[in-house]
Every structure is written in structure tokens, then in C-alpha cells.
């Protein structure tokens, strides 16, 4: 195998950036070549030495970025003024167009009209002759008053008629709606009452069933419990009687044993006394015989 790592491979391996087959090949090469291994160790030693240089602590000063925005011609004040005036004019023209403004100046007369109506004539400068006042037939104050009164009466009559017609319509409408609503309400109430009676019946029936079930189960439970309790009581009583009997028997047995022991003791004592009396009597006879002798 003629693999020999280049300085590039060595650097990549030294900094952990060699991967895959290349890394494996280089590691194999290092295993087989002590001089290459030594070279790598020296480089690693140098890295450890270089690591002695620590970072210097520094506080970042504020960075002021100057205003270097490009000055375009539309940023100039003159341009802005001109554009604002033009915009204002444009708005005025637009409003005039929308309102149908029509202005004419003909024969010393300025004519202004809106919405395409007939131009109103405004005399601008009465240059030559003053306007003449045409003599028209005039109305007296009484006639005007009469006309006004007539007009007002007509108006009142029309209003009254309109009001009475409206009132009639309203009344008819209210009656109709009331009749409709009352019918609907009656239906609803009937439905509600019938539904509620049915529901009450169902509810009562369900309550009764439930209660019956509950009472039944309670009695069953209670009877069972009572039975169990009485059984338990009888068993306990029987046990108690048996225990009492045993105890009594034990006491009687003990008493009999004690009596037996006392009797035996008494018997022994009696025997001993008799023996001692016999012995005493025997000794007394001998002594008297000896004395007699």
C-alpha cells in the first residue's frame, strides 16, 4: 500500500475535519509509521502551547453609523413644494369634474353651473346701462294671506286624511297580529300543559318504581343482615356457653384436685400422728418397764 498522507490531510485530521475512508487510512498510516505519529504529536503539542494565549476582554463601544443616505432630487424642498401645489390643483380639478362644475365668461357675464344645469347668469359689471325694473302686476297683502291660509288648510286636510288612514291600518294590523299571537300562545300553552302532565305521570311512575325497588332492596338487605346478625349472635352465644361450661368444669376439676390433695395431705398427717403416738406409747412402756426393773 503506497498511501502517504499529504500536509492537507494532516491538517484536516489535526483539526478533526477529516472523515470517512481518508480518516481511517490516515489512522492506519499513523499506526504503521512512528515518524508520522511523532510529527502529529508535535503539532498537537504546539496547539496546546498556542492555547495558552487567551482572549482579551473588551467592551464593545457604541457604533455610530453616519447618515449616508443618497440625496435624490425628490428629497429637495423645492420639489416637495411644487408637487404639493400640483396635487392640490389636481384635487380641485377632480372635485370640479365630479360636481359637474361649469364656468363660463361671455359678454361681461360669469356663468357658473353645477351638475350640467342651466348656467346661472351673474352680471359681472353693469358697464353700459343700469338694469330696468319691469312693472309687474302686484298682489295685495290680504290676497297673499288668503292664499297662504288656503294652502295651509289644504295641507292640514291632507295630513289629517293621511293620519286617519294610517291609524286605521295600524289598528287593523295590531288586531290581526294579536289574534295570531293569542292563537299561537294558546297552542303553545296547551302543548306545554299536556306535555307536562304526561311528563309528571312518567316522572311519578318512575319515582314509584324506583322507590319500590329501593324499599325492596333495602328490606332484602336488611333481612339478610338481620339473619346474619342473629346467626352470628346465636353462634357467639353458643360459643360463650361452651366456654362458660368449660371454665366451670375446669374450676370443678381444680376444686376436686385440691380437695383430693388436701385429703391426701390430711391422711399423711394422720398417719404421721398415729405413728408418732404409737411410737411414743411404745417408748413409754419400755421406760416404765425399765424403771420398774
Amino acid at each position: 500500500m503506497s498511501y502517504k498522507p499529504t500536509e492537507h490531510d494532516l491538517m484536516a485530521y489535526l483539526y478533526g475535519e477529516l472523515e470517512g475512508d481518508e480518516r481511517a487510512a490516515l489512522e492506519q498510516y499513523l499506526l504503521e509509521h512512528a515518524d508520522a505519529r511523532l510529527e502529529l504529536e508535535k503539532l498537537q503539542g504546539l496547539r496546546r502551547t498556542l492555547a495558552q494565549v487567551k482572549d482579551k476582554e473588551v467592551i464593545a463601544p457604541p457604533i455610530f453609523v453616519g447618515d449616508r443616505q443618497q440625496h435624490y432630487f425628490w428629497h429637495t424642498p423645492y420639489f416637495k413644494t411644487i408637487v404639493s401645489i400640483a396635487a392640490s390643483l389636481l384635487i380641485v380639478m377632480l372635485v370640479g369634474k365630479l360636481a359637474g362644475l361649469n364656468i363660463r365668461y361671455q359678454q361681461n357675464e360669469l356663468k357658473i353651473s353645477f351638475n350640467g344645469g342651466a348656467p346661472e347668469t351673474v352680471p359681472v359689471a353693469p358697464a353700459t346701462a343700469p338694469p330696468t325694473i319691469a312693472s309687474a302686476p302686484t298682489l295685495t297683502q290680504q290676497q297673499v294671506q288668503d292664499m297662504i291660509n288656503t294652502s295651509v288648510q289644504q295641507n292640514n286636510a291632507a295630513l289629517q286624511a293621511s293620519l286617519s288612514a294610517t291609524e286605521q291600518k295600524l289598528n287593523a294590523s295590531i288586531r290581526q297580529s294579536l289574534a295570531l299571537n293569542s292563537g299561537q300562545v294558546d297552542n303553545l300553552v296547551k302543548q306545554a300543559s299536556s306535555a307536562s302532565q304526561q311528563q309528571v305521570r312518567d316522572f311519578v311512575a318512575s319515582l314509584q318504581t324506583e322507590n319500590a325497588k329501593l324499599v325492596k332492596s333495602y328490606f332484602q338487605l336488611s333481612a339478610n343482615e338481620q339473619k346474619q346478625y342473629v346467626e352470628g349472635l346465636l353462634v357467639d352465644f353458643a360459643k360463650y356457653l361452651q366456654q362458660q361450661r368449660n371454665d366451670d368444669l375446669q374450676i370443678v376439676k381444680t376444686q376436686i384436685n385440691s380437695l383430693q390433695q388436701n385429703t391426701d395431705l390430711f391422711k399423711q398427717e394422720t398417719e404421721q400422728i398415729l405413728t408418732s403416738i404409737i411410737t411414743t406409747v411404745g417408748t413409754g412402756k419400755n421406760t416404765s418397764k425399765q424403771n420398774l426393773n
Partner: protein
Amino acid sequence: MMHSDTLLTRAKEGDQNAQGKLVQLWYKRIYNFSYKFFLDHDMAMEVSQKTFISMCRNLAGLQDNARFKSWLYKIAVNYCREEARKKKGNRSLSFDSVWNREAEESPAWEGSSQRLDNPERQLQQAELADVLQQALGELSDEQREVVIMKEYEGLKFREIADVLNLSENTVKSRMYYGLDGLRKILERKNIGKDTLGYEL
């Protein structure tokens, strides 16, 4: 992933709060990348500021949210290169290299988070870190940016290739020769087995 897709989308739409949050999340990473590149706090701050200003202005043009990390590091790398070119042309001496303010006001071991550990060991580690940073500085710009992105920023080779517009193999080669160079520099500075307790 240090941020959510929602946050990124909001930032892309011009939400300044979201942009601010992104800056907060990534500032430390970009600062540390730049610091290790230049070994200079002011330069790192400069590059970080420019990177994030550029990020806020151009975020709307980012097509694929998944490539945000590569895109951000690409901006940072470009600014690092720009500043490095300026630095080479300028030939001026950084004030920090003359007066090490950090060293004077706050010893490295004192600022450490492991203050209660053995102070002697802390000091040794701080000195070792300085030596390592200097060794990084001795690498070529191409090797240094790859080593920092890989070793300290944890980017994958594919992401670094994306940032630098290179092939993955070229990135790996730069990494290999960068590590080799570092090893030689450290050996020259007698940083070895005795110093660290293990062999380089």
C-alpha cells in the same frame, strides 16, 4: 452560531437594535482577531470599529445568512490588510510599543481571572502568552491570518477559504507552514519541553 437568524434578518432590514446586538455579540471575536494580527490595542479597536460600521452599512446586501460569519471576517481581514499596508508605509512607532500602559497599570497576572492561583505560574503564563503572540507576529501576514482564524476563531477550513477567496488546500498548506514556522520560532526562543512540561 452566536446569533439567531431572526436577529440577522432584523438587522438586515435596518433595525438598529438588532444591529447593535450583533455588534455586541461579535465585537470580542473581531477585536481579538485584530489584536492577534497586530498585537496592538489601538489598531485592533480601529479595525473593529471599521468592520462593524461597514457591517451595518452593507448588511442588507448579504444574500445568504449562513455565510454571515465568513462575510464578517472577510471585512475584518480586508481592514487588517489595509491597516497593515498603512503601517508599513508609515514606519512610525506605536505609542503603545514605547509605553506599555497595560503592563504599567495592571500586571498581567493581576488582571487574570485566576487571580487566586499561584502568582508565579500566572506570571509565567502571561509571559508565555506574550512570547506566543510575538511568535505569531513573526509569521507572514498570509500565514498569520490563517493560523489566527483556525486556531483562535475556530473557523473551518472551508470558511477560511471563503473568507480569503482561496482553495481549501491552499488554506491547509498555509496552516501547515504557519504551524511549522511557529514551532521553529518557539524553539529558537527556547520555548520547549522544559518550559511547558511537554514536548512541542
